[in-house]
């Protein structure tokens, strides 16, 4: 590789030459998006918040639950009920951590539009869609890992408190594992869904408003609509299906895998909309 120096070279003699040994490739775009995600302070803070909120909420719920129990309740609690209690306690923080990952997902793309970075990004990757795909993959993997950690922390916090009263569940219990996996999947997929929303609206405020409304406001709104179709629609809402991935509720209208398909459907719709708009619009 030749170094460009600012001192004038012999005029007109040299040919343009560069060490063109490297090319644009998807592996490189993935690495680029990984560098981008980890080099922003907001990423670290958001993920730290996910872990602290998950463990902290579980700890608080475990402590308040215990103070409400009489000895007669805890003494002869069946194993199934013990597991159920621990699962409910360890997933209580998801209600808040879902908001954190949703906001982070929006910001991963809207932050590029806010700062103008998107023009640098799309100049480096002019075909554009590899950038969206790489962002989605990196965001999914990192959020999955952090969400898993947060649930392990929440399980540990719950277990430590309940252990004093003789209530326990094994981390290897299928119900515990299924709830951990379900909550982790929901959080990682919600982040990717939000990335798509951020890409479509290109604005942090707008994107955050949409995903928060969808997660918090829309389910309540739909439930109060006095019509059968509204009640039938509830299980198909993103947050309802997502919550049913980890909440132990035998009355669920949908099977576990059906809930997963519903969540994937939301992610797919958001991703497709984002891909079409990103490819077509002027940056």
């Amino acid at each position: 590789m030749t170094t460009i120096t600012p001192t004038p070279a012999a005029a007109g003699t040299a040919q343009p030459r560069s060490a063109r040994t490297t090319t644009l490739g998807f592996g490189g775009v993935l690495r680029s998006e990984w560098i981008k995600l980890r080099s922003l302070r907001s990423t670290g803070w958001s993920y730290l918040l996910v872990i602290v909120l998950a463990a902290g909420m579980s700890l608080l719920l475990a402590l308040t639950s215990l103070s409400g129990f009489g000895d007669e309740i805890t003494a002869g609690m069946p194993a199934e009920a013990q597991t159920d209690l621990i699962v409910r306690t360890m997933t209580v923080g998801v209600g808040l951590t879902q908001l954190v990952v949703a906001v982070l997902g929006v910001l991963v793309m809207s932050g590029e539009y806010r700062t103008g970075m998107i023009r640098s990004t799309l100049t480096a990757v002019p075909r554009r869609l590899p950038t969206l795909a790489a962002k989605a993959i990196v965001l999914f993997l990192v959020t999955f890992l952090v969400a898993a950690l947060s649930l392990v922390g929440a399980f540990a916090a719950s277990s430590i408190v309940y252990a004093g009263e003789g209530i326990s569940a094994s981390v290897a219990d299928p119900d515990v594992l299924a709830a951990m996996l379900g909550a982790t999947l929901y959080l990682a997929l919600l982040a990717v869904f939000s990335l798509g929303v951020g890409t479509m609206v290109r604005s942090s405020a707008g994107g955050i408003a949409i995903v928060v409304a969808l997660v918090l406001v829309v389910p309540t709104l739909v439930q109060v609509i006095p019509a059968d179709w509204a009640q039938d629609a509830v299980p198909y809402l993103l947050s309802a299906a997502g919550t049913d991935l980890f909440a132990m509720d035998p009355d669920d209208a949908l099977e576990w895998w059906q809930n997963l398909l519903v969540v994937l459907g939301w992610v797919g719709a958001s991703g497709a909309g984002a891909a079409v708009l990103l490819a077509r619009r002027d940056a």
């Binding site: 460009i4 090319t23 080099s39 103008g116």
Partner: protein, 303 residues
């Protein structure tokens, strides 16, 4: 080599770029000049595929920019010094850009040194001055050691030392045989840096010629004459090809006739002359003459 053919961009009813045909050749600095709103930035964005042309096409080294296997090795672009995430350090911004093309850490260090950013490389871009932002933008453009460079207003916000540095850098890159396409609103800067000019007005090419030709072709030579017999001399000079301007008593500015002709004429009629100066035309005057009809936002009161 950049080639535009019928390149057009419309936003609704407004035509920003209107059927441009031009070629930017390697080995020289091509200046891209025009009043605000003339379509310079839109044209540059279309070259690297950020904006899609409404009609026509533009290619870089024979292919649309997006079709190259290693776009950053083909074209380095500084389109907007603000096109950088403010929360990231300069170093990490360059690393992320480099990673897309598998460009190594060594090259990242090289462009940081080359642009004099060593002391701020680990600082967040949000705290950068406009000049440091420009240097970082130039560093990013040079990452791929590209054969073609697009620089939109690169000296904007730079101090005099920085302006000189950009001028030397751009000249040396062109001397290495690279294609340099440089926009600036500083006409004096263009006169010093560019070899060739493409002048744009209201989305159309007004002129596409070497700098020297632009200056010579668009300003008649002016001659300043100071004489106690100014009015007599003015009457003698008056003619179809000659225009005479009286700025103050005893002072004339004459276009359309050489200084020697005026001197001879005065001698013939025994008129005393106290000053006879040929005023050199500047690129700025040539530019004003060229774009007089194509200025989008005119300040009427001043004219």
């Amino acid at each position: 080599m950049i080639t535009a053919a019928g390149l057009t961009k419309r936003y609704g009813a407004k035509t920003a770029v209107d059927g441009l045909d031009f070629t930017v050749h390697p080995g020289r600095v091509t200046g891209f000049l025009g009043p605000n709103g003339a379509g310079k930035s839109t044209t540059m964005r279309m070259i690297v595929g950020l904006d899609r042309p409404t009609a026509g096409s533009v290619t870089v080294n024979g292919k649309p920019y997006a079709h190259h296997r290693a776009p950053l090795h083909e074209v380095g672009a500084l389109l907007d010094a603000k096109a950088i995430h403010t929360g990231r350090t300069a170093e990490n911004h360059l690393r992320a850009m480099a990673a897309t093309h598998g460009i190594g850490e060594r090259r990242v260090r090289e462009v940081i040194e080359l642009t004099g950013l060593e002391s701020v490389a680990r600082k967040r871009v949000g705290g950068f001055s406009l000049g440091m932002g420009q240097r970082l933008g130039i560093a990013a453009a040079l990452l791929g050691d590209p054969a073609t460079l697009l620089l939109d207003e690169p000296v904007n916000g730079l101090d005099p030392e920085g302006v000189q540095w950009v001028r030397r850098l751009v000249r040396s890159l062109a001397a290495e045989g690279r294609t340099i396409f440089l926009s600036s609103h500083l006409m004096s800067e263009m006169a010093l840096t560019a070899d060739h000019l493409i002048v744009l007005g209201k989305g159309r090419i007004i002129t596409d010629a070497p700098v020297a030709d632009v200056i010579a072709g668009n300003t008649g030579t002016r001659v300043r004459v100071r004489s106690p017999h100014a009015s007599q001399l003015a009457d003698l000079l008056a003619g179809a090809e000659v225009s005479v301007m009286r700025s103050e008593a005893g002072l004339l500015e004459i276009t359309g006739v050489e200084a020697s002709g005026i001197g001879d004429l005065a001698a013939e009629h025994a008129l005393a002359i106290h000053e006879l100066t040929t005023l050199n035309a500047s690129l700025e005057e040539a530019y004003m003459a060229l774009t007089a009809d194509a200025v989008e936002y005119r300040t009427e009161a001043l004219r």
